[in-house]
Amino acid sequence: MIEKRYLIRRLLLMAISMLTVITILFFLFRMVPGGPMSAIMSPRMSPEAKRQVAEQFGLNEPIWKQYLLYMQNVLQLDFGRSFYYSRPVTSIIADRFINTMSLMLTAFLISYTFGVFFGAHLGWIRGTGKERAGMLVVLFIRSLPVFWTGMVVLYVFAFHLDMFPLGGMRSVSASYTGNVGKLLSPDFLYHLALPVFTLCTYYTGLPLLLMRNNLLEVLSEDYIDTARAKGLSNRRILFNHAARNAILPVITAFAIAIGFAVGGQVLIETVFSWPGLGREMVQASLRSDYPLAQGAFALLSIIVITMNFVADIAYTVLDPRVSLGAK
């Protein structure tokens, strides 16, 4: 249950948080040494031409004026034009966002499904040799640096066995129209396989361990004993009674992970030459491409803040005992 007043207060706080983050981003990028001039100006240009370009981008204005103009535009959902690409920031982010989300969402869905299921299983068989072996494998894989796993996977399956592509999102001969066509094409899925597999090896650990630990707690509850006394099957006790209650923290973790997914996985995107938002954010920061960097980081912050809120709401739906704002 959610109180109306709580909801309004929460929405207001979210808006304030977002504006604060956008303000911090604006000044943070301008405090970094260097500047965007090298990305938008050629050394061949005369000083007069350089001045003209700086004027066009508003870089000659005092910083407070630049800030006011930027905030005014942001409130109208206009994040400006990238210095580097000379295209609207929203269109660049949209392109990269689809690439990143197709990679990250696939990996998260597989990881969390697999993690929840096997976490529950490991919790159920606690104390057995199989559980200990399972935990050892999970902890070992989880402790491997993801970029290293990616390089090993690439070396074995692409360089050595030549079963998968070396990187990128599409083959030279592949042709499809539109994003839906792209996402559903076998060629895209073929390119997606290795990076998703690598990410899954890393991301499965968290939901699996969370699920296992929560389940251990839930299994000691009285209602589980009652279920057993009623003669219910192990499968029904595990999935209908225990797992449903143990899954709540995993939902929170999933929601936050989805928020951070927007930032992509820079290292994985680099290893697999995946043109995603993570790499673009890093590049935009290095190039001092203020509009693009600010836009991308703002999007990341907005989604993280929103997903936190969504996780809170999801709690009340999944667990009737939870009520937000009630005294």
Partner: protein
């Protein structure tokens, strides 16, 4: 890292590149008093005043990640400055945006770059970089005699006389030494010899990445009809009027392939008619150009004088910053004198006109760009048009716009109806990969057919080609130089004698830089104009010899002295403040 470089770093007392960098960079602070390893001919004086001691100097460098060899060359040269001459120069690696920004603001003592000639013409080097008001002269170099000669060569239409002036300029630069070259680059490239006929490839200063190669290269089989290549960074801007469209080669190469130009540099970098059938100078400021017959744009419309006039007038009217130096400041007017002929009236004599104006200005189709500018509302700012699959390039060059999935793939089908340069291949595809290792593997397993760029270790590509039967390696020297520039406003770099001494030191370091750091992929360099530009390069450009000992002699004669710890001091009466 190549084994040669690894061995080199070991010799330098470090276990690896990263450790080496830290260790060497660390010397700058620990070794301010470390000039005792230097030559014994130093003039040592006791009780020197502190204000004459040469203080810490900053050598701005790119990061090791950006260009490993160049960074390491900087580390070595600075170490030699400290250890052999007692000048505390510190290598400061910064991101490239920081580097250029500090350079623009004059906040540096030394900086190192790789710079090339403009379409084979020396004017960009002579004027832009070293003339007192040159757009790239961030180093404050100002020599009266040089300034006169630099502007004189720009206005000299007699090629032989201009050559003499350019040689004279190099002589002054050699004596004055605002620039000390590390090397002339030699780059390796490779292609798949099972798909491309070996004797059909053409290698120029840009390696295999040139229009002559891409139009004449012959496929051996069906696989060779589509040439897949890398790009040192994905193309980001394909508007030919945008500064980033004509600047970095990641954009300029596809733009150059999709457009025609009246003039193009030939295989030896000499300006040669391309879309122009012929041209004639009526006087020093009037040029008439006749277009070739039968040329069409990719949409089938004929290329006429109207399109050439439209292109230049569009630039003159809207003044895109990318074309300030070579069109707006140069061209007074352009007139149509016939269906296929135009007349250019220049504001004043401009000798590099063929190379840097006609050779760098693409012919835009009037019918298409008029519509495009109206549609996007960019009539006054044509360089702001976002070129994309929705607003593609329509031009007349040997390759057409295919599809562009930014960051992933850019396809350029061959324009088979090109009237005189139709490519033999069917398609060129740029498919960037994020790492150099992946690029080599893509060559080995046949995902790539040709490397347009190679920014990894030259030796590793050489090894890969040696061990892979279907790979052929080609090596070529470009028209650039890796060089170190000194801020001639700051002491001691404002002193010609100090710069000459620095040259003696750098010249002696060239062997180490070329052989140990670059693995032999480089040529000795003495002049800002690379020897690949045979006609313009002055092989007698003065240089200073005998390494550190020679440097000490020059410095001693100029009054520099050393204390007992080996630190260098300014001549009497001069301080660093």
């Amino acid at each position: 890292m190549s084994s040669t470089r690894r061995n080199f770093m070991k010799k330098m007392g470090a276990a690896g590149t990263a450790v080496g960098s830290v260790s060497l960079a660390g010397c700058s602070t620990n070794n301010n008093n470390g000039g005792n390893n230097g030559p014994s001919n130093k003039k040592v004086v006791k009780d020197l005043p502190k204000n004459r001691k040469i203080g810490k100097k900053v050598h701005l460098s790119n990061t090791e990640k950006y260009w490993a060899e160049r960074y390491q060359a900087n580390v070595v040269v600075d170490k030699w400055f400290r250890e052999k001459l007692g000048v505390p120069i510190q290598t400061k690696p910064v991101e490239i945006t920081v580097l250029t920004s500090r350079e623009d603001n004059g906040k540096f003592d030394l900086t190192t770059y790789n710079w090339c000639a403009d379409n084979g013409d020396p004017d960009g080097i002579i004027v832009n970089r070293f003339y007192k008001d040159g757009s790239e002269n961030d180093y404050g170099f100002n020599n009266q005699k040089y300034n006169e000669l630099a502007m004189k060569q720009r206005k000299e239409t007699d090629e032989k006389k201009r050559q003499e002036l350019v040689h004279e300029c190099q002589k002054i630069l050699g004596e004055q030494r605002p620039e000390n070259q590390f090397l002339y680059n030699v780059y390796p490239y490779t292609f798949n010899n099972q798909r491309i006929k070996e004797d059909s490839t053409i290698v120029t200063v840009t390696g295999l990445r040139n229009i002559w190669n891409y139009t004449q290269m012959e496929p051996k089989n069906d696989q060779g009809k589509t040439i897949v290549t890398n790009n040192w960074d994905p193309s980001d801007q394909l508007n030919p009027l945008h500064i980033n469209g004509i600047g970095p080669s990641r954009n300029w190469t596809p733009i150059r392939f999709m457009h025609d130009f009246l003039i193009r540099p030939d295989e030896n970098q000499k300006p040669t008619p391309w879309a122009a059938k012929d041209y004639e100078w009526k006087d020093d400021t009037t040029l008439t150009v006749n277009l070739k017959q039968g040329m069409t744009f990719h949409d089938g419309e004929p290329v006429t004088a109207d399109d050439v006039v439209y292109t230049f007038n569009l630039i003159l009217d809207t003044e895109p910053p990318a074309y300030t130096n070579n069109v707006v400041d140069v061209v007074k007017s352009v007139e149509k004198t016939g269906n296929l002929s135009v007349k250019f009236n220049l504001k004043e004599v401009y000798a590099p006109f063929l190379s840097t104006t006609l050779g760098l200005t693409p012919i835009l189709p009037k019918h298409y760009w008029t519509k495009l500018l109206r549609k996007t509302g960019n009539q006054k700012t044509p360089w702001k048009v976002s070129i994309s699959n929705k607003n593609p390039i329509v031009a007349s060059g040997p390759f057409k716009w295919g599809t562009w999935d930014q960051g992933s793939k850019f396809e350029m089908p061959a324009f088979k109806k090109h009237s005189f340069a139709a490519p033999n291949i069917e398609k060129r595809v740029q498919k960037p990969l994020a790492t150099r290792d992946a690029e080599v593997e893509a060559m080995k397993n046949g995902d790539y057919d040709l490397l347009d760029y190679w920014h990894g270790s030259p030796s590793s590509l050489k090894d890969a080609a040696k061990n892979t039967k279907h790979l052929t390696l080609v090596q070529t020297s470009d028209d650039c130089r890796q060089a170190c520039w000194m801020n001639t406003r700051n002491p001691p770099f404002d002193d010609v004698a100090f710069r000459q001494a620095a040259n003696a030191l750098v010249m002696s370091a060239q062997e180490v830089i070329i052989n140990e750091i670059y693995g032999g992929f480089g040529n000795k360099a003495t002049s800002p104009i690379n020897k690949t530009l045979k006609f313009w390069h002055n092989s007698d450009t003065p240089m200073f010899k005998n390494g550190a000992e020679g440097a000490v002699e020059i410095l001693k004669d100029a009054g520099y002295v050393w204390d007992e710890q080996g630190n260098m001091y300014y001549p009497e009466g001069k301080t660093g403040n």
